[in-house]
Amino acid sequence: MNAGTVAVATILLIVVGGAAIGVLAGSRRRMDLEQWTVGGRQFGVVLVWLLMAGEFYTTFTFLGACGWAYSRGAPVYYVLAYQPLCCVVVYFLAPRIWELGRDYRAQTLADFFTARFSSEWLGALVALVGIVFLIPYLELQLTGLGFIVEIASAHSVGRVPAMSTAFVLVAVFVYTSGIRGAAWVSVLKDALLLAVVIAVGVAIPERYFGGIGPMFATLARIAPRTLVLPGRTAQLGHAWFATTVLLTAFGAPMWPHLFAANLSAKSADTLRRNAIVMPLYGITIPLVIFVGFAATVVLPGLRDGDLSMLALVGKTYPAWVLGVVGGAGALTAMVPSAVMILSAAALFMKNVVRPLFAPALDDRGVARGARIAVFAVTAIALGFAIHGSSTLVALLLIGYAGVAQFLPGVLLGAFWPRTSKRGVACGLVVGLAIVGGLMLSGRDPYRGVNAGFLGLCANLACVLLVSLATRAPAPPAGARAG
């Protein structure tokens, strides 16, 4: 067998194995809407951890962090800083979300808004905004997967067949097993990823520099300015770092698929204990960053920094190692995508279609519709990924800053009884307008400050002021039941 065949066989084995785990995970359960979207709210610490780590560690963390280290230098450190802080936010926010979610019987982010503010319109708005940001994020995972498989297979498998095969498999296990499938595929994904990252993160600096210490000594001699902010960039300085870390730490849990993961836990304390150990998972990120820094010296002048990980592994190791990296990378795209597809499908059927077009639909009908919508969402993302779209690139840029605008509604909604739906709706619109206006006109960071952070401040102020000015809303029906 030639090198390409070995790599392709390895990747295929891993990807098909992962999908098989996913299908088996839910095969013996009756999949009603509750089981499919939030695993029947029965996940213990281990499954919640696998699910959340699976969602957090996307192709961005794998290829993107390496790429940022390669092409930007020190600004990549924001990933290291925001992840532990995000866990702190989750520690306090998640148990309250879980508790209200149980009382409201919420299965999606939009359900939370619908129930808390007694407004199906607000829920539908949140669902639509959520879907609009999920699709480009999904397309990014797909594109990443296409590159990974194409390069890892030494170009013997093209991007389009790779993306199509992997995503048909994802759609199948999401259809059969729902969120439980994603959590179980994460077992294989995390094991492989951990092995790969430790292997390349330690071995590559050792091979080319004689160790991690000597590598940084070399970098400090030849390119010291890349090791401190703003690195190779002009604008990503300390103010950018501080505001971006804050925005991402508070904003990331507002991604609809991450929000829904909270609801799958069996108790509020499960989420707390999970949040305590989650930061330890981040210990792998420095290793990815080491590879990016090593590549700046070993392989300077790459056209696309995001490919530096694969290029360097390919230059250093035999084909089967590249195959394992490719397979792990493919799973890294597939697991988060599975939950994103599920979230988008559930939001669409439950929070947009039912309240606006089919109020008579029962939960069984919603479940059936959502499971069919899985294939539609997958096809749409695949279509965009194959044909490319500049609108999507723009939406993706806004993604994190955009979903962060849900925060005031969730945070104040969870802890401040006076929060009103008008306030939340105003804040959301103002926040999104500021984010869109600044980012799409190329003004992020604005005077050194993250644009999403500015949007969030204005949003928060709006929610507070409008809520204080309007009459206090009656408590929602679900709250009394709990």
């Binding site: 020190a74 450190y77 290291l80 800083a81 992840q83 532990p84 802080l85 866990c87 702190v88 520690y91 306090f92 148990p95 309250r96 508790e99 160790g211 991690i212 210490g213 000597p214 940084f216 000594a217 400090a220 010291p224 090791l227 401190v228 902010l229 300390h238 770092f241 501080a242 870390v245 804050l246 509020a268 304390d269 707390r272 204990r273 949040a275 305590i276 150990v277 989650m278 930061p279 330890l280 981040g282 210990i283 420095p286 960053i289 709990g482």
Partner: protein, 76 residues
């Protein structure tokens, strides 16, 4: 059931600590020297906080549980 998610003041104070360490003080720790175990200072600092943050949260959890037990009058 409400007491299960009540947050104690001590826990909130502990939660602020990682934000100070990893975010607000960036201008102070963003430098190469002194290197620690061969790592630039800023990188070593952030790696240390991947371990210190769980410690802070663990402490917060202990405080929260103690508070919940006291409010519950010792009963479950």
């Amino acid at each position: 059931m409400r007491s299960a998610t009540r947050i104690s003041r001590g826990a909130l104070l502990l939660a602020v600590v990682p934000f100070i360490g990893l975010d607000l003080t960036v201008a102070w720790w963003d430098r190469i020297e002194p290197t620690i175990a061969g790592l630039p200072f800023n990188l070593a600092w952030m790696i240390a906080w991947t371990a210190l943050t769980p410690l802070c949260l663990w402490g917060a959890h202990r405080l929260d549980r103690r508070g919940a037990a006291r409010r519950g009058g010792g009963g479950p």
